[in-house]
């Protein structure tokens, strides 16, 4: 398993925070409430550690927006909405009454856009900072257990390192809080690491 040093981790966090910040800005434009997004932690985990980490979600169905990317580093980012969070977030954004957990196709469309905004924010931030062009696939919406979303739905062996980003959203006016989990499955963290090292070198200069 690859380990990021402290500096690399800081850069990564910085890039993610910038991306999350942009996403929050866009979401605030879409709704009349102020949506606050925070990143309590970022972890690099082995698949087994990730299983342990996401055990709380258990065998419940979760909604996820996945975005594939290719370029200097390739992989897949998945924004996972635990059922409670998905419902709260959609309700707030659309002004619907909260408490309707069902995700019909209209609400799925909304959730897709939220996922798109957050993922684009982060990916755009990374892309901008790394000054590298990345090709993206169309975002895909899926509902399944976390295990199947991350580990089974692939034709290739799972990566040995997974980046877990915990994002907390807060809508203070409504006293609503929720969690979003961003999982980065990067095929070769080595490439990302080298890119980060490039940035590190530039800072050093």
């Amino acid at each position: 398993m690859i380990h990021f040093d402290h500096y690399q981790m800081d850069i990564l966090k910085e890039m993610i925070n910038i991306g999350v910040g942009r996403a929050a800005g866009i979401l605030n434009e879409l709704t009349k409430f102020r949506v606050l997004l925070q990143v309590p932690f970022i972890k690099l985990l082995s698949p087994s550690d990730l299983k342990e980490e996401t055990r709380e979600l258990g065998r419940d169905m979760v909604a996820a927006v996945q975005l594939g990317f290719e370029g200097p580093f390739s992989g897949r980012a998945a924004l996972v909405f635990p059922p409670d969070s998905a419902s709260k977030l959609v309700s707030v954004l659309t002004g619907e009454e909260p408490g309707t957990p069902e995700l019909d196709s209209v609400r799925v469309g909304t959730l897709e856009e939220v996922g798109n905004i957050v993922l684009n924010g982060i990916m755009g931030s990374i892309g901008n900072m790394l000054k590298r062009h990345i090709h993206y696939s169309l975002p895909v919406y899926r509902e399944d257990t976390i295990d199947k979303l991350i580990f089974l739905d692939r034709n290739v062996p799972p990566p040995n390192t997974i980046l877990l980003i915990h994002i907390r959203f807060t809508i203070e006016q409504l006293h609503i809080e929720g969690d979003i989990i961003l999982i980065f499955e990067v095929g070769s963290f080595t490439a990302l690491l080298s890119l980060l090292e490039t940035l590190q070198d530039k800072d050093m200069e």
């Binding site: 209209v106 469309g109 993206y136």
Partner: protein, 690 residues
């Protein structure tokens, strides 16, 4: 233009997919506009391609779009504008006038051989989908609401149910308690009802078995209840009485009296009094009425006792008492009369023997006749004498009835029809008295039919049983009935006709029926009457039948002379004088005494001197001195062989009919004739010598 034509030829295929597709350059100039968008927006390709899209759709310049589109023109990740958050990127109207709902994907499109990127907009029409989902949501929300309401209702129901359960439990507990109480009350009430029923049955039994007729009378006078289904005394059934006014059953002459009695009840006074009620057959029944208020009711209790028999007995008793007192008086008068008549008749007889002149003789005959009528009158008076007993003989009274009736109606305009049983039982009667009774009854009937008619005389054998209402000892009787078709007797007189001196006839003595009554009473019989005004009258006479045989007829009296010494005792000097003359005329030697003491002394002296009396004739009653019975008792003590004859004007005295019991050998009734004296002395002497 070349750029646009190239794109047109490259993306012309996008005209064929059911999406709105357009391509935008980073300066917002439209490079491609497919056919669907033409159709949706009615903006022809020619009018928009190569032009700034914000001319038609200025909102795309807004930060919410432009900030995100910005990355696309640098090859950034695809964008999604969801239908829910944006509704539509390219506003376009549907045929129904509403805006088409759109879900838009925007991807970067690299421009060959350049670092530039176009933005490829792919717009999906999700109007129908959205509406369907909204409809579904509405349905779902409604369903959820209904479910919520139902759950709420169920919860309320559960709560209500729980409350109800609690109430039911409380109520059940109350009911159990109440039920227990009720059961106890029912038990108590049942017990009370049973007791009441027992009392009711008991009372009903008392009422039903009461000898009296018991009724209740309401304040308005109607009868509410009667204790009898059928009342045999009155002949009424329950339905004849109940609901009727009580005055209906009261004789006219008593209605006012009964109204007064009812008023007294209304004032709260109870009472017992005698009255009469009309029976079902129209006759009147004597009754004792007891009336009182019923406590706790506005009705009155009236008990009616049939006292017909008692009244009858009372009337009988009253009659007897009346007759007894009259009898005492009559007895005294008769005694005196008979003494006088003894002297008169004796002297007439003697005078007739010695008179030579025919005219004087005829005058004596007239005097004798008048004296004999006077004798008859004293005989009537004697009938009322106290304790008077008839001188009875066993007779077949058929002839006596016929002879008496024939004798009585002879010369009248009335005919007598006889229906006399051929095997009529003999009766022990005083022939003269019964003759007198029949005579009186026939005379009464003749007088009831002044214009003539038929009298029906019947005589039958009857047996009186123990249950009879007649005041007779059970046994065999000869029943004589005398029926006329005359004017009848008025009701108010019926009770009085047997009273002495009661008469409705101007010249009547009032003795006829009272004598008949007394005679029959002294024969231990009974006389009664049935009469209705204008329907005739029937007298019924009951005489006890005798088991004895009828003796042969005696010979007629004749003057029998004799010899012997006679002691004659009588307080009346005229009687002593005339009797002395008659005895001497018959050939007897006679001595006289005034009373019993003198008689005993004379008898004792005669014994001492050896000049004995053969027969002593003694008056039964000596006012203020010793009478015949006591004197006889003493004489028997002196000389058990003494022979004595009792003489009395009280022919009905028991001593006269039962003289042997008192030691006498014979009896002679005053006024006696010389023949009577000769016959009785002859019989005493003959008996002595036999």
């Amino acid at each position: 233009m070349e750029e646009i034509e190239t794109l047109e030829s490259t993306f012309g295929i996008l005209d064929c997919i059911p999406l709105g597709v357009f391509i935008l350059r980073n300066d917002y100039v439209v490079l491609f506009w497919n056919r669907y968008l033409e159709e949706w927006t009615s903006i022809n390709k020619k009018n928009i391609i190569g032009k700034d899209i914000t001319v038609h759709f200025p909102h795309l310049k807004e930060p919410r779009y432009s900030s995100r589109l910005q990355d696309i023109f640098y090859g950034g990740p695809p964008l999604i504008f969801s239908s829910q958050l944006h509704n539509h990127i390219i506003p376009s109207l549907l045929p129904n006038g509403t805006l088409r709902i759109q879900h838009t994907y925007i991807t970067s499109l690299h421009v060959s051989n350049t670092p530039d990127f176009y933005a490829l907009f792919a717009i999906r029409d999700v109007t129908d989908l959205t509406h369907r989902i909204q409809g579904y949501r509405a349905m779902r929300d409604q369903a959820l609401e209904e479910i919520r309401e139902r759950i709420h209702a169920e919860e309320k129901l559960k709560h209500a149910h729980a409350v109800l359960e609690l109430r039911i439990q409380e109520r059940t507990a109350d009911l159990v308690s109440m039920n227990k109480k009720l059961q106890e009350e029912i038990k108590e009430r049942k017990h009370a009802e049973e007791e009441l029923q027992k009392t009711k049955t008991y009372m009903e039994s008392i009422l039903t078995n009461a000898l009296d007729l018991i009724i209740t009378i309401k304040k308005n006078g109607t009868i509410g209840y009667t204790n009898r289904e059928i009342d045999f005394e009155t002949g009424y059934r329950k339905e004849d009485i109940e609901g009727k006014h009580f005055l209906q059953f009261i004789p006219e002459h008593l209605k006012e009296f009964m109204m007064d009695k009812l008023s007294e009840l209304n004032e709260g006074n109870s009472g017992i009094y005698e009255s009469q009620i009309i029976k079902a057959d129209g006759t009147h029944m004597d009754c004792l009425i007891s009336q009182s208020a019923i406590q706790g009711s506005d009705e009155f209790l009236v008990s009616i006792k049939d006292i017909t028999a008692r009244k009858k007995m009372e009337n009988e008793l009253l009659k007897v008492q009346k007759l007894e007192s009259i009898g005492i008086l009559a007895g005294g008068i008769a005694h005196d009369f008979n003494n006088l008549l003894t002297a008169i008749l004796g002297n007439i007889l003697l005078a007739k023997m010695y008179v030579m002149e025919k005219e004087v003789y005829n005058n004596l005959i007239e005097i004798e006749k008048a004296s004999l009528r006077a004798k008859d009158l004293t005989q009537h008076l004697l009938t009322f004498s106290k304790g008077g007993s008839p001188l009875k003989k066993t007779l077949n009274i058929s002839e006596l009835i016929k002879d008496s009736a024939d004798f009585a109606h002879r010369g009248s305009n009335v005919k007598c029809n006889f229906f006399i049983s051929p095997d009529l039982w003999p009766a022990e009667v005083d022939e003269g008295q019964i003759h007198q009774v029949i005579n009186n009854l026939i005379i009464n009937s003749i007088q009831a039919m002044p214009t003539g008619g038929v009298i029906q005389v019947r005589a039958d054998n009857v047996t009186i049983g123990p249950g009879s209402l007649l005041p007779l000892t059970p046994g065999h009787y000869v029943k004589i009935s005398v029926k006329d078709t005359g004017m009848g007797i008025q009701e108010e007189y019926i009770q009085k006709i047997f009273d002495p001196y009661f008469t409705t006839k101007p010249n009547g003595s009032g003795f006829g029926l009272s004598t008949a009554y007394s005679i029959i009473k002294n024969h231990n019989g009974y006389i009664t009457v049935e009469s209705r005004p204008h329907s005739g009258t029937t007298f019924y006479v009951y005489l006890p039948a005798s088991p004895k045989k009828v003796p042969a007829k005696k010979e007629e009296k004749r003057l029998i002379s004799g010899r012997g010494r006679i002691l004659f005792m009588d307080d009346e000097e005229p009687v002593r004088i005339v009797t002395g003359k008659m005895l001497r005329h018959l050939g007897y030697d006679v001595a006289f005494v005034k009373n019993g003491e003198e008689a005993i002394r004379a008898y004792q002296e005669a014994q001492k001197s050896g000049n004995l009396f053969d027969v002593v004739i003694m008056d039964l009653t000596i006012p203020g001195g010793m009478g015949g019975v006591e004197a006889m008792k003493r004489l028997c003590a002196i000389d058990p062989n003494v022979r004595a004859i009792v003489a009395s004007g009280y022919s009905n005295d028991p001593v006269m009919s039962d003289y042997e019991k008192y030691g006498f050998c014979g009896v002679v009734s005053k006024p006696f004739t010389i023949a009577d004296l000769g016959q009785i002395l002859h019989s005493v002497f003959t008996r002595t010598y036999e």
